[in-house]
Symmetry: C2
Subunit: 362 residues, 2 copies
């Protein structure tokens, strides 16, 4: 499913980027920083100018025959037209796109009857709450996953070149077929978004006095429900068959849980949830480890965190994870520290001696 | 709904605690530390002895007529019997329990035909992944919510005394009727647990290559699904009518989302989710604020966090939230810092000058 990724192909310019939004302009910045000749275009010429001003490339014209790569970085609705036009206009270029859905686009391109040997879709899994060329950043893709999605008709040269493009943006390349890609993002990204949004949407009907006793669990499960509705509507609808299938599967499992509640036996359903969390790769690609957690009170005052970590450091115990919980009433926060179980006692002793207030976890 | 809580009643002993598990023994430790005379009992005398050894009180006998308060800290299935026996055995004592469901217990107590004027249920919202008297801790309830649930027949003296008990354990007391309590925990705690477990339970069927591209959203939404299935079965079944109702409401909203997917329009459902997240009280009881976030690379080496916070402190910007994201491939972590937007630029400048690698957020 993930054949070895070629390390050898070096990206050559000129690269034409069509669509100078956050993603397109950031690709431009990353390639320009790597010494690649980038030419920017946008339906709105001012966007291309802003992107050029951010170091994303130039807006000078280029000989179409000389263009080596074209990146279509336009909204989903415009993608097919832009890819088709690019294949025609730049006869010697490999063409890719950066959309978050890959298989449906491929099907629609095939319906156009074009030769798609020079096209390979891709999906950089990076973004920002910011948008537009003004927020462009050459580091946007650094160490992020960038999926390259070959298809039956794509040439090895096209696949290697799009891979080299993603690598030049310092992304971590994962190869995946187009249908596989759309299934994967439905499973690990789109379904969690739908579930979180549906869970959160019920909270407007909950009494404030009830919400006041909410803990970290509710906050964690609804955090991504705060995402931009307009953007997520496009993402979900672009992959609607896969998403709807995942939602229906989720609903079947929910019905099973409801039956369990009525029958007075839900431990198997809850245990299946535990097994699911253990299937998610943890730190450094491994499985979740069991860490000891304890909680230190941090006064809401300047420098408290710095002092805390200096003291914690004296224990010589590696801190594997941290999170802050804010007390809704007292003007203090609680810092939760996760360490390997062997180091927990030493850290607790060191922190207590240094005068920090330790509280057992909940 | 939350009448003013009396500040005046002082807790008097002796207090009898029935059930020397984590919660009962921790109540004993907190009361003993406050100078209250505590007597411990447990069906298993060894548990009471261990709790006494942890400073939770004594196992010496006490004159039943002199006992001022009884705390029933036994598993849900045993609660009604223990409360009834305590009301009979200690004729001058107020009686409370610490179970996570309040209304169904009250109904069952009423069915026994007893005088419940001396009984007021309560629910300390604290716990631990640890259990048993060996883990008892006088700080377990400090700054945690402890719900006191009066009923029609309870006397003001009973309510004030149970309130004083919770305060003596340094908890933050919230008063709520029994039915109100069970609804509230179903809404903000039990439904999120069910949803998270059902979401996570699907992951065992997801290909490892697909799970490898999972981001923080999946981890956040499934974190509480890792909770103990046996304990959560007891909690959910103890409140099954309320939980089932919340699950059915959730399912109706999920069906609405599914219809939206099929109809090609889900923005209203997604926007309702955003509104829901904004209804959750944020830091210090207020609403969520919009913080600027940026991400600093932390090398996986001793002392990195301490150095990082010392440097960050120089910017003089208050850090509102922090979290760690681990890169699944490179041996580094990323620290996400949230600060007020006005301070973001200064912090970024300070950190960049100090040589830290900053990355834009996703």
């Amino acid at each position: 499913m993930n054949p070895p990724v070629s390390e050898t192909t070096e990206l050559q310019g000129p690269v034409v980027i069509i669509g100078a939004g956050l993603i397109g302009a950031s690709v431009g910045c990353a390639l320009t920083a790597a010494g690649i000749d980038v030419r920017l275009s946008d339906r709105n010429p001012a966007h291309a100018q802003v992107a050029a001003g951010r170091g994303a490339g130039s807006v000078d014209p280029v000989d179409p025959d000389e263009v080596a790569v074209v990146v279509a970085a336009v909204p989903p609705a415009a993608l097919v037209g832009v890819i088709m036009a690019a294949l025609a206009q730049y006869p010697n270029a490999y063409v890719t796109d950066v959309g978050s859905v890959k298989h449906r686009i491929l099907i629609r391109l095939r319906e156009q009857g074009a030769d798609l040997s020079r096209y390979v879709g891709s999906h950089p899994m990076a973004g920002s709450h910011l948008s537009g060329p003004i927020s462009a950043n050459e580091d946007l893709f650094a160490d992020r996953t960038w999926i390259v999605a070959p298809h039956e008709g794509s040439t090895p040269g096209a696949v290697d070149t799009v891979t080299a493009l993603a690598r030049t943006c310092r992304a971590r390349v994962v190869r995946m077929g187009t249908a596989d890609h759309d299934r994967a993002v439905a499973e690990v990204s789109h379904l969690p978004q739908v579930v979180s949004s549906v869970l959160a949407s019920g909270l407007t009907g909950v009494a404030p006095a009830h919400l006041a006793i909410a803990g970290q669990g509710l906050r964690d499960t609804t955090r991504i429900a705060g995402s931009d509705p307009g953007l997520w509507q496009q993402i979900l609808l672009g992959n609607r068959e896969e998403v709807a299938q995942e939602v229906r599967r989720f609903r079947a499992r929910l019905d099973d849980m409801l039956e369990g509640l009525e029958a007075g036996y839900v431990e198997p359903q809850l245990a299946a949830g535990v097994a699911g969390t253990l299937a998610i790769p943890g730190k450094h690609g491994g499985r979740h480890e069991e860490y000891a957690r304890f909680i230190v009170q941090i006064p809401d005052e300047q420098g408290a965190l710095a002092r805390l970590f200096v003291d914690a450091d004296r224990a010589g115990v590696s801190i594997e994870d941290i999170s802050i919980e804010h007390d809704p009433v007292k003007q203090v926060g609680w810092l939760s520290l996760a360490v390997v179980p062997e180091g927990a006692e030493r850290l607790e002793k060191t922190m207590t001696e240094a005068g920090w207030e330790i509280q057992p976890p909940d």
